[in-house]
Assembly symmetry: C2
Homo-oligomer: 284 residues x 2
């Protein structure tokens, strides 16, 4: 029976640590502040944004709640970001995705100052991560690394197989793993004999967005399995990319869904905001 | 007997193509211009720089030969780069490495305008490459992809194993391969059972800088083997990372050293300079 990598429990511990840290910083006159921009009224995005504000408040991070109409032009949004880039009280800027069609998300990502890019999606930050000189780190991969570290799992010398090559999970996670001396394989929809490859993984990460994509026969006995997927199954239940019941019999460690990687992501966002606030007082 | 992937021959063909292209551009009033900065008088660096100027001249690229004393301060070099960044006649800036100890190479790399970064080492350019939105691409990996393409070798669905994780070869090559749908594994000094991993490669790339590092037993019969190493063996002869004689019996394709990847690198530098000159007239 796999040991549960309990992201929910760990995120609560981390949140408490961050609360203590913001109190200490306050005594030094540093109050971290995160700006969250929501364009339009997508219901899922509204929930995500609300959760971010709640978490920020709980931890002692000030947050700025910017709601823009769904017909906001790209120029208007760029102008708003420019103001936030130049506002010294703002440490982090997050533009909730997806954006409406009239706005080029890529251009928005490149406009946020790398020093305030809490999501870590700016090419400059991804490039720094890629050459093992990281500044901002994308939250989901960063949360995975944090989870492994807290469970005493070193990735050094491990064979890591990441299934999925997105900009926000697969690719930056590959860089983080490589920077920590894992042997890293990135597999994806064009990979042949995928199961043969996943069975060689000491650490297997599924980030493809498909229900039951990884099954017990794809997993080496004792492997550490990280399930990044968040999907709704036919019954409307929230599930990951890993068929959890049987994989749970084969794997050595397994992240549940929900309660695994998800809660770590938002906690890492808060951690990054606090780090930016500290770094803004230094040269880094 | 492996087919030779003849970088020397191909680089001559590419050079001829680039000559034709610069003539066409000249008729449109576009003259590509590359600035090469050499700090100090390292003999190997002087040879590299001289070869770059010669190749530029041959192709019809103007080149600016900037020689700075070996005690040049970092501030002086940064100032020089700032002038070149702002000079609209300059399309590419290359600072020959290694730099003297008083200069932080990393800071220099980040100061060159990404739009003139012919080496493709700026984090912004590496980040764009990493998310499959490339602008400048490092020359050695770009030369490898060009070589494979010209020999009709697709990397799509192939298992690619890259041994070596440097900023200038292993990492950017991994991104290029992934962007073209290869399943990519990056192995390195911490990799366990390396030979087992390299034997699974359809395309094996050795970029570690050690004589005879890859031997016949590390290679799957018929594999495509790319030897990026440039080493001197005990006899003082220029050799790669691959023991070429026996690997040549096992592999399907093999790049020689010298005459494989090396000549492609400088040709790609020239190609990148010409592209920058064209792009400088456009929004990209």
């Amino acid at each position: 029976m796999a040991v549960k990598l309990d992201g929910k429990k760990l995120s609560i511990k981390l949140t408490n640590d961050l609360q203590v840290e913001t109190k200490t910083l306050k005594n030094q006159g540093i109050i971290p502040k995160l700006a969250v921009i929501l364009v339009g009224d997508d219901p899922a995005s509204r929930v995500y944004v609300r959760n971010k504000h709640r978490m920020a408040e709980k931890i002692g991070i000030e947050s700025l709640d910017l709601r823009l109409a769904k017909d906001t032009s790209e120029a208007e949004l760029l102008e708003k970001i420019a103001l936030l880039n130049n506002d010294p009280t703002i440490n982090g800027i997050l533009v909730q995705l997806p954006l409406p069609d009239q706005i080029n998300a890529d251009r928005i990502t490149k406009t946020i100052s790398p020093k305030k890019d809490v999501d870590g999606f700016h090419p400059y930050n991804l490039g720094r991560l890629f050459v093992n000189d990281p500044y901002a780190i994308p939250c989901t991969p960063n949360g995975i690394m944090y989870l492994l570290r807290e469970y005493g799992i070193s990735v050094d010398r491990k064979n890591v197989v990441i299934v999925g090559r997105s900009k926000i999970v697969g690719r930056p996670l590959a860089a983080l793993m490589l920077n920590q001396n894992a042997t890293v394989t990135v597999a994806h929809s064009h990979t042949k004999n995928l199961s043969e490859i996943t069975r060689q993984a000491d650490i297997l990460v599924a980030a493809v967005g498909r229900v039951n994509f990884i099954q017990a026969q794809d997993v080496k006995p004792g492997a550490i399995v990280i399930d990044v997927g968040i999907n709704r199954n036919a019954a409307g239940k929230l599930v990951g990319d890993v068929e959890q019941t049987e994989v749970g019999q084969v794997a050595g460690y397994l992240t549940p869904v929900p309660g695994g990687v998800g809660p770590m992501t938002i906690a890492m966002l808060m951690k990054q905001t606090i780090e930016f606030a500290k770094w803004s007082k230094q040269e880094k």
